[in-house]
Symmetry: C2
Subunit: 255 residues, 2 copies
DNA sequence: CGTTTAGTTGAGCATGCTCAACGGTCGTGG
DNA sequence: CCACGACCGTTGAGCATGCTCAACTAAACG
């Protein structure tokens, strides 16, 4: 399946395509195709050789890893996110497996096209470096979130992040099932329940997927969000502009 | 202080300088200088704006982060490693603090020079992307190591990695103090002691900084090292060649 | 209606941390 | 040369966070 006109529009606006010339864009995207997958599809297993850069345009994808009968969620991606860019740049194999959580729409760009475009246009190469650097920093934030905070603190900060993204209102809707949210925050569903109960002391009231904040200040005092860990700070321009310089939302969310 | 001839030679051979032309190399390195720091020097604190790319040429550097009176070691770097490359590429502030653990020698390359060189030479830009991608993958390995293994398993794999790096002999020398090794492996010194005792069942005998392996097979059966987590696998060419395509030893070691 | 699945709640357990005490080594200074 | 102190490493006891296992409820779906 070849790209249709409107498909290219959707990705033309991605952080690392926006600055590219039309020729470079065409080169990078040559051989790319758009594909839909049902929920639960394994796109990639650990150790597989990586032939494509994936761009999640719609749906949700879980990145995970396993060892010796244990396995763990490393990130949950929401549109628009690229993934396994690092493996593509190094023409190497995947360190994480990727599975669709919902019916999803993905753009698949041949790795060789991408590498060729990087080598022929320095501005495009620089844009890819910026994307990679953003992914790296997202991972660092994620590690800090996990190592410096206990599970209830992670939940509190997650809720404040969602509040900021959903308009700063006093009530939000959780974007995932609670079991998915739990793995995103690095805990079991049981512990997520208990963490929600603990936060009732900070005015957090849960009803299904709706969460109401009755004492935002108390919650903030408890959560102590930090611009060095969380990525939702108003500092300066619009959050969208910020989100564009440092993307890969999923990874920054993630545990 | 200006670079002397032999200093440039030492960095000319770094993964992302090797492919560059002399002109680009000079441009990237213009304004760079070499500096020595005593042990315990804070090179960078979280949140500082980053003006230089650091290259550790000798000594050891700890990357860490803190929040709300807690703090944690994220990586320990050994020569030759770059650090805070991602912040430099994005011209952003530091997400980690950097402290020398020993007397150390560092090359400091002005961020602006580096970004200019990336934008003017696609081959150099691509090399920086490769370096970044390697750092990213090092972090992913590190997270997997931490989330999928308990502390004793991490120690066992660390010992096998050291054994491979030190020539596959039956006895190795620990390259760090045990307290540093503990933080590298993400545990307290007390627990490191206990983990060593547990591994005596697998033929691990400790005497100061010397470790002897009496039952390597048993240790390997226990540790189950994986090329998707550990970076010391013989797969194909020389390990050095492999280490060059995917560098930043410290980060891959790290917790 | 039964069956399934998500979510909650409770009890017990395990990994790893804190705090404290103790032994050994090294370096300094009397 | 020895005494002292500082620090690393070890060992033990108790504790906390988070996990497993199990039972139970409620809502969704056939």
């Amino acid at each position: 399946m070849v790209l249709r006109i409107k498909d290219t529009d959707r990705i033309r606006d991605l952080a690392f395509f926006r600055t590219a010339s039309d020729e470079i864009f065409d080169e990078a995207v040559s051989g790319a195709f758009l594909q839909r997958f049902p929920a639960g599809t394994t796109l990639l297993m650990e150790g597989d050789t990586v032939d494509f850069l994936y761009v999640l345009l719609d749906g949700a994808v879980e990145l995970g890893a396993g060892w010796k009968s244990r396995d763990s969620t490393l990130a949950i991606l929401k549109p628009v996110s690229t993934f396994i860019l690092a493996a593509v740049v190094l023409d190497s194999d995947a360190l994480m497996s990727a599975v669709t959580l919902e019916r999803s729409e993905l753009l698949m760009i041949p790795g060789e096209s991408l590498r060729r475009a990087m080598k022929s246009d320095p501005a495009f190469g620089f844009a890819v470096s910026q994307e990679l650097a953003g992914c790296y920093r997202g991972l660092v934030r994620s590690i800090k979130n996990h190592k410096l905070r206990d599970s209830t603190e992670r939940l509190a900060n997650y809720l404040l992040t969602q509040r900021a993204r959903q308009g700063g209102n006093d009530t939000i809707t959780l974007p995932h099932e609670k079991r998915v949210l739990a793995s995103l925050l690095g805990m079991t569903p049981e512990n997520l329940s208990r963490a929600f109960s603990k936060l009732s002391a900070q005015g957090v009231a849960v009803d299904g997927a709706k969460v109401r904040f009755d004492k935002v200040q108390a919650l903030e005092r408890y959560a102590r969000p930090s611009p060095l860990i969380d990525n939702h700070f108003p500092q300066g321009e619009s959050q969208l502009g910020k989100a564009h310089t440092e993307r890969q939302q999923g990874v920054l969310d993630a545990l």
